[in-house]
């Protein structure tokens, strides 16, 4: 690790309205990014209070990893898993469990989840990043162009390399832990005992979205649902690894900061890939909750994206479908969001529907799989084989106050989670490649 002697602590505090777009950057034209019912805005739809903002000392992802249930390398957890398979627990057949492991073949091989903290990377990542020939190696100058050209090029490359969508935003320490700093003493993003350090030139964040296979996701909570969740991360991270190689190949630096423990949610919201929903996670206007994110930090100057507003904040006030889907009531049923954090793992300064992360992580630990039932149940999760969904999305965005009715209709029409006894039918269905059908984006 690089030793960090001096730290630019001025960058650790919030220097602008938290949730507003950063000044001093170029923003790209947002008019063609989304259909007419999605507005581009200059600040996120979540209310924030700059004087109250509390820096997270741990994020929910870290916590769920710490309490991760399905880890056969640990004897107690292996026994739990073996019991479930042997007892014929619905959703835990041997093929279900094996599919879950297989769905994260590369994602889990690329990172080493050890004792709960993401502590390092395995050899596979070194091998992956060898597969690139930099301009320096080829003896040619690096690529040069405007910020807009760079963003357009990266977007095209990302989609070619498997991303469902990308968004660009600025590195903003507001939402990150007190141990994350900007430091001119490091040449590349660096993790050390003192914390995580980013060099000042690395100020651009690329948020890479990966699709979640909807039908397996609907089998949450359980091994099949978890297989979908893992597959979503694998999609995002596979695309991200390749995109980082592309960026290196044109002569710039690119680093995966999600796997350094940086929570992608605030960056995905700032980059306009979705809004914060009642479930305290990102809801995309295209993919609902069936999307997962990876984060790249780069020094390639990019034209940034703006946050979006598709009426979700009002929609979530009355919908509550995710809260009903949660097996442990970890999601708020209150009509309005709150400034008051819930439990030791949520933090002040934003008005959201705080989720009881402790309940969620404890459930994940005891269930033996990642849950994601809230994400899979969201009313905005739809495939796009009928024009009805496009109609409902635009109605939902423009008349969000009727969301209780939409959620009722959603239940009546049978959308949402698949009951346990019917989950075996997943193995009988003729599903699309990677389980991903069209979305409103296609």
């Amino acid at each position: 690790m690089t030793a960090v002697s001096a730290v630019d602590t001025s960058s650790t505090t919030s220097y602008h309205d938290p949730g507003a777009i950063s000044e001093g950057f170029v923003y790209r034209d947002q008019s063609k990014r989304y259909p007419w019912w999605v507005k581009s805005v200059d600040r996120i739809t979540v209310e924030t209070n700059a004087s109250e903002i509390q820096k997270p000392t741990i994020n929910m992802i870290m916590m769920s990893l710490m309490r991760r249930g399905q880890n056969p390398d640990q004897p107690r957890q292996r026994d739990g898993l073996v019991n479930k398979i042997s007892n014929g627990t619905p959703g835990f057949s041997l093929p279900d469990v094996s599919l879950e492991f297989a769905s994260q073949t590369f994602f889990q091989s690329g990172v080493n989840v050890d004792g709960g903290l993401i502590s390092g990377f395995r050899k596979i990542r070194e091998v992956i990043s060898d597969q690139v020939h930099t301009p320096q190696e080829l003896g040619v100058p690096p690529w040069r162009g405007t910020e807009e050209e760079a963003s357009s090029m990266i977007e095209k490359a990302a989609v070619h390399l498997g991303a469902a969508q990308v968004g660009f935003t600025a590195m903003d320490l507001t939402w990150l832990g007190p141990n994350v700093r900007i430091s001119s003493d490091v040449e590349k993003p660096t993790t050390s005992r003192e914390g995580i350090f980013f060099p000042p030139a690395y100020k651009y964040v690329i948020v890479v979205a990966g699709r979640v296979p909807m039908w397996a996701a609907k089998c949450a909570p359980g091994a099949l649902g978890s297989a979908a969740d893992r597959a979503g991360y694998e999609e995002a991270h596979m695309a991200e690894e390749k995109l980082m190689n592309f960026i290196r190949g044109i002569g710039y630096g690119a680093f995966d900061i999600h796997m350094m423990g940086i929570n992608p949610i605030p960056f995905a919201v700032m980059a306009g890939l979705g809004e914060m929903g009642r479930m305290n996670r990102v809801v995309s206007p295209f993919f609902g909750g069936a999307v997962r994110f990876a984060l790249i930090l780069t020094d390639l100057p990019l034209a940034l994206d703006k946050p979006i507003d598709f009426g979700l904040h009002e929609f979530c006030r009355h919908c509550r479908k995710c809260a009903r889907a949660c097996p442990v009531n970890a999601i708020s049923f209150e009509t309005d969001p709150s400034w008051e954090p819930l439990g030791p793992y949520s933090f002040k300064g934003k008005k959201v529907w705080f989720e009881d992360c402790e309940k969620c992580a404890a459930y994940t630990s005891s269930a033996g799989t990642y849950c994601s039932a809230c994400l899979a149940a969201c009313t905005w999760n739809k495939q796009n084989k009928t024009a009805l969904h496009g109609l409902m999305r635009s109605l939902g965005a423009k008349l969000p106050a009727f969301s209780r009715f939409y959620a009722l209709m959603d239940d009546l029409f049978g959308y949402g989670l698949i009951p346990e006894e019917k989950r075996k039918t997943w193995w009988e269905k003729d599903l699309p490649v990677k389980g991903v059908s069209e979305s409103s984006k296609d």
């Binding site: 039908w215 495939q383 009928t386 024009a387 009805l388 029409f413 049978g414 959308y415 269905k429």
Partner: protein, 83 residues
């Protein structure tokens, strides 16, 4: 194929109305167009939802749109006959 059959049927029905002469009142046309649109949409919902493996949505969505569609088209025809 189903879309083609539907298109032909709708086209035929529209042609038939036209053949009834130009003296139809405007609301006959409004009723007919709304009914035909709802009927066609019901088939889109049915076929799309089957492709999505959403059987319940397929059946309910179809009924939700086809019933008012057929009623509206029926009303427009009833008005034509009553003249």
């Amino acid at each position: 194929m189903v879309n083609l059959v539907l298109g032909l049927l709708t086209g035929f029905a529209a042609a038939w109305l036209l053949l009834q002469g130009s003296n139809q009142t405007w609301y006959v046309w409004v009723l007919f167009i709304l009914g035909a649109a709802s009927t066609i949409f019901s088939f889109d919902v049915l076929i799309g939802s089957i492709k999505e493996h959403e059987k319940r949505a397929a059946v309910l969505g179809f009924l939700f749109f086809v019933i008012p569609g057929v009623i509206l088209v029926g009303m427009s025809w009833a008005l034509v006959f009553s003249q």
